[in-house]
Amino acid sequence: MSMDAARFPDRVGRTGKRGVVAAAVCAAALVLLPPATASAQNDDTPAIEDMPGDGEGKWIVQSWCSACHSLNIVKQQGMTRHRWDETLVWMVNKQGMPDLPDDARATVLDYLAEHFGPDHRPDATFGQPSSTGIGLQPLMPPQ
């Protein structure tokens, strides 16, 4: 894929002061983290191994998406490529995400559709759902 700076002519002007605020926001978020998690920041490798798959798509999702929100929200989803596409449009139009270049965007959509498609059960949150009790699955496996 190519990555041409000329494709982003307006980027500096458009994103102006946002980063300064972002720093304050992130610093505020860090206050909530317990010491154990905070110390993990010193590790060379962030604890992201639990995102499935590999390659460019995974890398972009990990770095771009987590800039604003937790990857847990990604891992909870199960959507078609079409609905992931709509989600990216929403992120750009409503949530302030910078546009990805077309090829990177396609790579991201491929990754999301492959690993978080409609057959992906959205159970990636911490721990097992206590007793969802709202689906059709048996609540307790046969003993």
Partner: protein, 434 residues
Amino acid sequence: MRKDRGLRELYEQDPIAADEAVFGRRTGPDRRGFLKGAGLAAMGLAIGGAIPFSRTMPAGLIPAALAESVEDFVIEGKNGLRVLNDKPVNAETPPHLLDDDVTPIAHYFIRNNGVPPESTSPQGWRLTVDGEVNETLNFAISELADRFEVVTLRLQHECGGNGRAGFNPPASGNQWTTGAIGNAEWTGVRMRDVLNAAGVKDSAIYTAHHGADSHLSGDPDKVPISRGVPIWKAMDPHTLIVWRMNGQDIHPMNGAPLRILCPGWPGSTSQKWLTRIQLRDVVHDGTKMSAPSYSVPYHSVQPGADVAEADFKIIESMPVKSLITSPRSGHHLPTGHRKLRVRGHAWSGDDVVTKMEVSYDFGATWVTADLHAPPNPYSWQRWEAELSFPTKGYYEIWARATNDRGEQQPFIPPWNPKGYLNNAMHRIAVMVPA
């Protein structure tokens, strides 16, 4: 042929140059210089810069502080919650921790759309009332308490997306199971008294609520959420502006020091960190007021279908619903025991629950439970029942509530694109060993 290079390769080779190429970010003499021309991805760098920033790119770009385990995530003053998300913070309450008539602050769910304000101190906090009013007013919290009648009510308050995890195909958003509901005891003043003090103009048809939280992207021009309600709901005597929760300060994650409590409607209408109520002469068009946010199709749709924006309506009253809060799912009766007392709560948006039933045979037969009247309108209602199991074995207890309109909880909720209003019957598992 020139070899195309991917984003990752660019960052691995020269992250600073890659940043400039991709996002037009320029670094200054100080690493914080990154932030001056920052795009959204700079937030990762901002974290890296705010704490020892020694990692190489691209690992440094990925905020390790947001490491994808919420297992160790601790929220002071909360316990037992299931954390769905740490940025923004979203956490729900397992059913057995909702057994109290008044939900303890420690177990009260959290649904954030943005980043809470840094200070949630009541000192200096102001509330502005403006828009379609005769006179713009501005209050300190103590002035609200002095000027208007102070009331305390138990109010049910549920996230519109509670139960989203039960939809198939999966609906997008936080995958709440059953725990984005609480029934705390809130103290404050009636919104209508405050609005009447300002003088509601005939042109006012809708409220617009504004809070002090900030957008996840850090963009000061973006608003994480600003919703409102029709004026008739704002004037309901149970719609409150509150500063106490269970007789204590409101938890910072639950909107301290001042919030709206608009019971029976999607939780998002109960603006947290409240700074301003604006009356409008149109349906409010703030962030997350437009479809598909907090909206459902006005006609039934095939699961997975695309729905045109024009076919959505804004959710108002939440549907009839109940929870089994005791015993906890997975309960084993002692050997030789066949009787079990079960209990929980039932609620129904703007309405009242009039009947509560439970089944232990997968819905073939139903036992009517004892249902208590609410201590005040808009509180959830306690119910309890005693069951006798005919044989040993695996049982599921199902619970369903019916309201005064004759509406009953369904087996399967109607699918909708954003997975709102799942009021399917709650089920728990019970083993009867002998």
